[in-house]
Amino acid sequence: MTSSTNALRRFGRIFLTSAFAASMSLFGTSCDHLHDPHDHDHDHDAVTTVTLTLVAQGTTDTTRVTWEDLDGIGGNNPNRIDTLFLRPATIYLGSVRFENRAKSPIEDVTEEVLEDANEHQVFYAVSNSLGQLQVLDKDGRGLPLGLVYSLSTALTTAAVPGALTLSLYHYDSESSKNGTDPADETDVEVTFPLILR
């Protein structure tokens, strides 16, 4: 047993020495490291704000609604989701605007969608048969684009709640856009509550 006691003592000494040396080198590298922020400012342009502008046909009666999440994905929930109030049995001419308002100056993403129209498409869906939406604009190949549309609201007497959902798709290439199918990856998908009154 004495030899093992000796060995243990020796072992302890060797270990303590090496542990001390190692800890000096390891823990010496200060934890202040953690204070350095190193988030890249991405060139990828995210959309923070979607604005719909609708004008009732034959009037200058303009409705503008905004859906906005300034801090991007996660964090706080969207800071603004307007309800779209429209009149029944009316034809509206509408447009959509995509912006990144987290950047200064504000970046207008609509222009990029327009520039690469052949690789983009906006889809709309109106729930509860509250209206019929038709895309009016076309891309360079004659396929629908979706930045401009007409919306004919239904004839109702009671205020029925519904929703208008808008999805922006960015296709890998021109060839994967066919005018009817969405892309595999959704860029923007927002829902505005819609009430006819």
Partner: protein
């Protein structure tokens, strides 16, 4: 050969038993065959080199002891009159004659398991014959081991339903420290480097710290050959699926310029294109890998130092059909049932993709302080650099009023964006371990030690799944085994402290705060092994260990792409505490081998992300289900059975089956990602010589996997896939090349009938079928 004979007092029966060891290293030779000459009786040495014979009636017993890589030994034991107990110590010399065949010459005792634990060792031939595209492929031969996969080149091993940070993966003496928290993060290990893999099923926290609560996978390279001259090995693997090729080689010498410095230089490379399901190409699933390592060993068994420097680098494509934007896309992809568009086969790897480099330096020194004491010090440093490139939102607008300048600027920005990772994580880990292996008496052996680690993670990019953090941990342990004649008892205890300091970014305000958390706790284990009759071993283990919450469980705050849910950590989580027990049985006689085990594991404060349906995450990209990390009481239990039945001298029938049940006891519902019940049955035909081919074999097997029906209805986006059958075939043997070089050749075909199936544990099951037929040619030569 030295055979020590001890004639003991007269006992009830004549009982010959003993230990077979290497004469130089005194390491037990697990698997050595001891035959009673002139009879049909035989025994195989167990993990401790031990063998037993009972009820012998001859006057004189002649034993023939053989083992691959060693000269066959003969021992004559005079028994004479009366019944006796005879104990033998058989020491075998490594055969200096060059082996004609490439065989395992390396069967050191498993240092990664207590003697009583459920452990399975895969040797170099087994690894070689089953080597796939990742190191984990070879592991699935072990009953109870499955893989959680994200495509063919991204596989995480799972033991008895536990994976990720609940397992410890050791790579050449160091605990592999990569980003193990993610489902799509595979261990960074070269498929060519292991020559021995030990799988420990069950808690091993006492030896390897809190994360080993589910088990250990210990990957080792073979020791450098000690015979003079320059040696080496070259391996080529070709895979038809993905048109993948891989080449690995090493060169080694036991002496450099006459000095006793052993060197090995190893390298490998792999190039694969898109994998193919039976009916379509899985676009962007290619892989590129380049690995190298240098081993330098000085000294001898008594005092020595072994250093290893290695680099693993890979670029992996993430299946483009599995990269979706939001929950609507996910449902649409599932409804469609197949990828929306498939391009022709290509070797190109585009976004999304991962680029990972893992660099490791280790130095392991040992000193034999006395006959009974051996000191081992291991110092290591690892750098894991992981970049994940996203496929989303690459819509870049250039600056400038002139359209030409703007177009050029757009292109430049696009290229920059594609080359900028959405997430980059650099994880630095230093570790120092010291252990003293000792023999307190002839029958009591054990190890005491201290292990410490320090880690720094630096994150950059827009994705916030884990923060910057600094982690240190220190632990002290002791375990001892008492070896009696028929019974071995092991017990161990360990104490660990972990301290985590993280810099957390608030997503709304973009402000960072620091949080410091410390955990400490005790792990303990107790086990027994009983060998009542020849060939039969029974084991029992009980262990309690803990695991501190991991950094993603505490601070994750982002969308999980590929699974389309928003995952939120909980910074107040407490440690998990597990209490588990397992029993095992091993019986081997006349070629019949039965191995079976069963386990139960109760984990208090088990950490898992559960849905929070009241608070979906609303984003401009759509609405995502919110999952929050929470704690519950979980219970896992299961069992497995493997058996080999000799139908004929040359024909074996083998089979294995395993099942695992996992439940959240608080909510009384099944856990997520528990492997479905599975089994395999096969025939193995073996011949010593067929023409010029030695050791020829034909092996055919069918794997059957049941549908995982234990899920929470409606919880997942898609119901679990149907059960499936997969047939694999392989033929192989050893040929002699010119200059007397031996070459092991294997031609294998997995998914022989090109069946379309989906595996519940695959992340791609929502989007596409699993791999179709894959014809594999493997070639290895040693010189």
């Amino acid at each position: 050969m030295i055979a020590t004979l001890l004639l003991l007092s007269v006992l009830a029966d004549t009982h010959i038993h003993g230990i077979v060891r290497d004469s130089a290293t005194r390491a037990p030779l697990h698997g050595a065959v001891v035959r009673l000459d002139g009879t049909k009786k035989g025994a195989v040495a167990d993990r401790y080199g031990a063998f037993h014979f009972y009820d012998l009636h001859q006057d004189t017993v002649r034993l023939v002891v053989s083992y691959i890589g060693y000269a066959t030994e003969r021992v004559v034991v005079p028994l004479g009159e009366g019944r006796k107990e005879v104990r033998l110590d058989i020491q075998m010399r490594s055969s200096s004659a060059r082996q004609q065949e490439i065989q395992v010459t390396d069967e050191r005792i498993a240092h990664s398991a207590l003697p009583t634990q459920q452990a399975r060792v895969l040797g170099s031939v087994e690894i070689d014959e089953h080597r796939g595209q990742t190191f984990a492929d070879a592991l699935t031969q072990v009953a109870g081991v499955t893989v959680l996969q994200t495509g063919p080149s991204l596989k995480k091993p799972m033991i008895n339903g536990l994976t990720g940070t609940r397992l410890v993966l050791r790579n050449n003496n160091l605990v592999q420290e990569g980003q193990q928290w993610g489902i799509e993060h595979a261990p960074e290990i070269d498929a060519f480097s292991p020559s021995r893999i030990t799988v420990v099923k069950g808690p091993a926290a006492v030896m390897f710290g809190p994360n080993a609560m589910g088990g250990v996978i210990d990957v080792e390279s073979r020791p450098i050959r000690k015979d003079p001259g320059l040696h080496g090995e070259a391996t080529v693997n070709l895979f038809s699926n993905g048109r993948q090729g891989a080449v690995g080689a090493f060169l080694e010498t036991a002496q450099v310029a006459g000095a006793p410095v052993a060197l090995r230089l190893q390298g490998s490379t792999r190039l694969g294109g898109d994998a193919e399901a039976p009916d379509y190409v899985l676009n962007n699933t290619g892989v590129r890998e380049l690995n190298a390592s240098l081993t330098v060993e000085v000294g001898d068994e008594r005092l020595g130092l072994s250093t290893l420097a290695s680099i693993f680098s890979t670029t992996l494509g993430i299946f483009s059909g599995a990269h979706i934007g939001n929950a609507t896309d996910m449902l649409r992809a599932i409804q469609r049932g197949h990828p929306s568009s498939t391009r022709p086969f290509s070797y190109d790897i585009g976004n999304p993709r991962q680029e990972i480099t893992h660099t490791m330096i280790s130095a392991k020194g040992h000193a034999q302080l006395s006959d009974d004491e051996r000191l081992v010090l291991t110092l290591g440093h690892q750098v894991n650099d992981r970049s994940e490139f996203d496929g989303h939102n690459v819509r870049i607008r250039g600056q400038g009023t002139d359209p030409v300048i703007r177009a050029a600027d757009s292109l430049a920005r696009l290229q920059r964006a594609l080359a900028t990772p959405a997430m980059n994580l650099v994880l630095n880990t230093s570790s120092l371990d010291a252990s003293l292996e000792h023999a307190l008496s002839e029958r009591v052996r054990g190890t005491v030690g201290i292990s410490s680690m320090w880690q720094l993670n630096e994150r950059s990019g827009s994705v916030i799944l884990i923060p910057d953090y600094r982690l240190w941990g220190i632990g002290a342990f002791a375990y001892e085994s008492i070896m009696l004649d028929e019974v071995t008892v092991s017990a161990g205890i360990r104490y660990d402290v972990r301290d985590l300091k993280s810099r957390i970014i608030n997503r709304a305000t973009r402000e960072a705060t620091l949080q410091d958390r410390t955990w400490q706790n005790v792990s303990a284990s107790l086990g027994a092994l009983w060998a009542p009759v020849e060939g039969l071993t029974l084991t029992w283990n009980a262990a309690s260990s803990w695991r501190p919450p991991q950094v993603n469980e505490l601070y994750s705050n982002d969308v999980h792409h590929g699974s389309a849910y928003y995952e939120i950590g909980d910074s107040s989580l407490a440690s998990e505490r597990t209490l588990g027990s397992d029993v095992g049985l091993r019986y081997e006689a006349n070629g019949l081998l039965i191995e079976s085990s069963a386990f139960i594991n109760r984990i208090g404060d088990y950490i898992m992300a559960l849905p929070d349906p009241a608070n979906p995450t609303v984003t401009i990209r759509g609405t995502f289900p919110t999952y929050r990390f929470t704690q519950m009481t979980a219970r896992l239990f299961g069992g497995d059975l493997s058996l080999t039945v000799p139908l004929h001298e040359r024909l074996n029938l083998y089979g294995q089956a395993s099942f695992v049940r996992g439940d959240n006891l608080d909510l009384n519902e099944p856990l997520l990602f528990i492997p479905a019940d599975r089994g395999r049955i096969g025939l193995h035909l073996h011949a010593d010589d067929v023409g010029p081919v030695h050791d020829a074999y034909v092996d055919v097997s069918v794997m059957g996997v049941r549908r995982q029906d234990r899920v929470v209805p409606g919880r997942d986006y898609a119901e679990p896939p149907a059960g499936y059958l997969r047939t694999d075939l392989s033929v192989g043997g050893v040929l002699t090349l010119p200059f007397g070089l031996p070459a092991r050749l294997t031609l294998a075909c997995t998914n022989l009938f090109n069946a379309a199936y989906r595996e519940y544990l695959s992340q791609y099951r929502y989007f596409a079928d699993d791999l179709g037929r894959n014809i594999i040619l493997r070639f290895t030569t040693t010189f």
